[in-house]
Homo-oligomer: 241 residues x 2
């Protein structure tokens, strides 16, 4: 069991990540720490329950396929012990859609494997938002220049007019908008927007950038800029290479 830690800043929330496959645990924990969460981990159900009681995380990311106790059982035991911590389940795409769906009414949610980091982070924030509710919560909208994006409803507007985006286009735009002004390399984009098991490349990022431009960036000024052999950046024009 690993102690919480982030690099310096005060964490946005404390997460417990429960996953038995080391590479995925590492991927999630590393990326979430880097995103600004404090993270503790467990790799089986028993440890998960102990860690939840000990660290009292704000949210639990819970694989449903664990070596000892099934993820749903972990959830059930916590709940029957009075623990109301919201849970984000990780499930295989084909498995147990119905069992999982019932869980989302309680404020919990699920993400199917293989996931993209963009997806997981978005869901985490959504669940935390719903759960904390009430107070001064950050609006679930990203705004940049004449673009507006609603993370919850998956709607996008350009100059106030709705734009239809495919799921991947939406994730790409969300990633760009969340990092507006920062240059993002193609590797970063692939790592965050595409599923972790995606192997190919062959210019898929270019394809999607092209599609996005057509849909949301035709007018002036241009917002999506190419930095040759460096990456892409979303920003208002004045700016050198």
């Amino acid at each position: 069991m690993i102690e919480p830690e982030t690099s310096g800043r005060t964490p946005e929330a404390m997460l417990l990540v429960v996953e038995d496959e080391p590479s995925i645990l590492e991927l999630l924990a590393g990326s979430l720490r880097f995103t600004g969460f404090a993270v503790v981990t467990a790799s089986n159900g028993a440890d998960a329950i102990r860690a939840a009681r000990r660290h009292r995380p704000d949210l639990i990311i819970l694989d449903v396929m664990l070596p000892d106790i099934d993820g749903f059982d972990v959830a059930r035991r916590l709940r029957s012990g009075g623990d109301r911590t919201p849970i984000l389940f990780l499930t295989a795409r084909d498995a147990v859609q119905d069992r999982v769906k019932g869980l989302t009414i309680g404020g919990d949610d699920y993400v199917t494997k293989p996931f993209s980091l963009e997806e997981v982070v978005a869901r985490i924030r959504a669940v935390l938002r719903r759960f904390r509710g009430g107070g001064a919560e950050p609006p679930p909208r990203l705004v940049f220049a004449h673009l507006e994006l609603d993370e919850e409803s998956h709607e996008v507007w350009r100059d106030g007019r709705p734009v239809q985006l495919s799921p991947t286009e939406f994730k790409l735009l969300r990633y760009l908008m969340a990092n507006a002004g920062r240059v993002l390399s193609k590797a970063q984009i692939l790592d965050h927007v595409w599923n972790y098991d995606f192997q190919g490349d062959s210019g898929i990022v270019e394809s999607y950038v092209s599609a996005l431009r057509r849909k949301v960036d035709t007018g002036e000024p241009r917002l999506i800029h190419t930095l040759r052999s460096v990456g892409y950046v979303l920003r208002e024009p004045p700016g050198g290479t």
Copy 2:
């Protein structure tokens, strides 16, 4: 190229460089020491793990092709041992396709061989910044006279007005600005700005200096000075030999 030691000033950070090819190891270690880093080295995976545990470097530069343990495995072993030192991977350009995916997620990054030293130093600083900082700190900028250069967004301003530079022009200017006041020989410039396996010359440095002057050094006072048969230097006018 053996450079003098930097006299006594406290190093910017401690790096562990892991690379099995002696010539490249020497190139990297020497140049990084000269730049102001403290450097320890290892030339295989097992030594790398030992050195990481013993010296606790701020960052590890890790070749993925090692004689014993694959660089990715080295990283995995360190991580699973709780070590979260950021890593800058060195990979062959054609190996980028398959295994590089996922490397940028935890704050790590990679550079493809053959690299330029400028590139490596820039990436090192970027990774250290991300890893240490995170908070609301000003973007990393090089400033000299009326020139301003943002390493993160690749933007350059002259008298506050943006200037468009090609990637190589940008690297050259960054090298000059990072060494403002220091005379740089053409050989040094070639070694740092161009890839280490670059063979030709035929006045390519002159060409780029010329282009840079046209773009950022037309007004008065002149900043980029030629020292005949010695090199170039970026400094304000009163100039000696």
